[in-house]
Chain length 273, copies 2
């Protein structure tokens, strides 16, 4: 059984119900000790106010979502993305976030050059790293499910993410999300390889059937992922950080009252993580 | 440019428009030299009549769809699936199909044990192989995209399929479908590894956005897959077999006149394969 003292909720789980201030209040009142914050919600709240609130509530921040989006068709756009990423690093530092989630980006508009996109990701991360290191912000490369290779993230296995870490050196690690990685026959071996480079661990579930590629993630226990098995593998590396519930669910959980969603997350965290 | 003399169309591409007899007539009239046949359509036509028609038209059969579905919750169901698979082998032999496509199956109902399902796949294939070898039918394991790991096929990379081939020996090879494999950073290396074990090569395209996990495949050229690059890798192995267009498209191509679909397949085969 997962320890509630290690629970975090990604605020996207109640994206439609809560502003950042509302999410901080609601999660804290429910006894959830961690939150993961999205930058659009952060901007609406204001960074100073957000920092004040998380400190007042003693919340831990399992991650800031997100940096990335490195590939682009032209150099000016790639540079603008890097500038945006530096702003994300500064926000993560101000918040004391335990990592900055990196969703690397997919193919540039009009391109079919996946190796080229992957090279842009490597180069972009390399350019950012000095700023992240100076700010003391750990960047967590999150491999996304292969169904997002074209439009969201061309880093699609933990092996690929770790190859990037090997290449880039200190200051970068990985986020392990069961939704993206559960199918991978090499997952156990790659989690072991990751070792102390695991900076975040995300849970939800894979529904059968899945009716939407992006917004039909399931509550833990409603799908087919053996979450406790993967948690065990992660914890055998020594990972003792927060375990973050992250559910995008346009037709189900986003339509329910926020308190019901949080209560269900807590119950399922105990029974199915 | 791909050679039209090597073109095949999977009859699922005009599933809503054509019976098997209609597909054979329409593809032949359009000058397409190959077809891939589905067993439900074959049953509706009758095996003898189908054999007569393909012989009369001199059509090549790039594959029979399909064997597989090995994992099941109980031994009786697994045995029934094997019996069904033997019938598929006999049909492939009668038709002179160039391979029998194997879609291995996903998790048994209620199971979260993906390694267990993969073991059932290995065992099921092993049980079938003597019958397939005796019938002279080559079984083509088709790795399916990781988004199908739960409900359709727990063999999700070419590497996994080739490991199975290594394990099982003669009589089994692979089907390379760009839709399932295009995202894999190891694809080039694994195609090279496959060598003469490539028994089928399937093309369509990955649309951005993709609106349905199963039935929103794109016509070649409408998506982001670098098909000529993958075809080049396949042909460097010495593969000179048919190149099969297979498009499941409930909201687009299945709603258009069959002749328009076939004509577009021919045009795009020339321009985008």
């Amino acid at each position: 059984m997962a320890d509630l003292a290690r629970m975090s909720i990604n605020q996207a789980t109640t994206r439609e119900q809560h502003s950042l201030a509302q999410a901080i209040t609601a999660y804290t009142q429910a006894g959830v000790p961690g939150i993961s914050i999205w930058r659009d919600k952060l901007a609406a709240c204001g960074l100073d106010e957000a920092v004040r609130m998380v400190n007042d509530h003693g919340l831990r921040i399992s991650g800031l979502c997100r940096a990335g989006q490195f590939p682009a068709a032209d150099a000016a756009t790639r540079q603008a993305n890097l500038d945006e990423n530096r702003a994300a690093i500064d926000e993560a530092a101000a918040l004391g976030a335990e990592c900055l989630i990196v969703v690397a980006g997919g193919l540039p508009d009009g391109s079919k050059d996946l190796p080229g996109a992957r090279q842009m990701i490597r180069d972009g991360l390399g350019s950012l790293l000095p700023h992240a290191r100076a700010a003391g912000v750990a960047m967590a490369i999150e491999p996304l499910h292969p169904m997002y290779a074209g439009d969201r993230c061309a880093i699609n296995t933990l092996s690929q993410a770790l190859d990037l870490c090997d290449d880039l050196g200190d200051g970068v690690g990985v986020a392990v999300d069961v939704y993206h990685l559960w199918w991978d026959p090499h997952l156990q071996a790659q989690i072991k390889r990751a070792g102390e480079r695991i900076l975040a661990f995300h849970v939800c579930d894979w529904l059968l059937p899945t009716t939407d590629l992006l917004l039909d993630r399931g509550m833990m226990g409603d799908g087919v992922i053996d979450i406790p098995q993967i948690r065990d593998w992660v914890e055998r590396t020594g990972y003792g950080g927060l375990i973050e519930v992250e559910i995008f669910s346009a037709e189900n959980w986003w339509k329910r009252p926020g308190d019901e969603v949080i209560r269900t997350c807590l119950e399922r965290f105990k029974s199915n993580v």
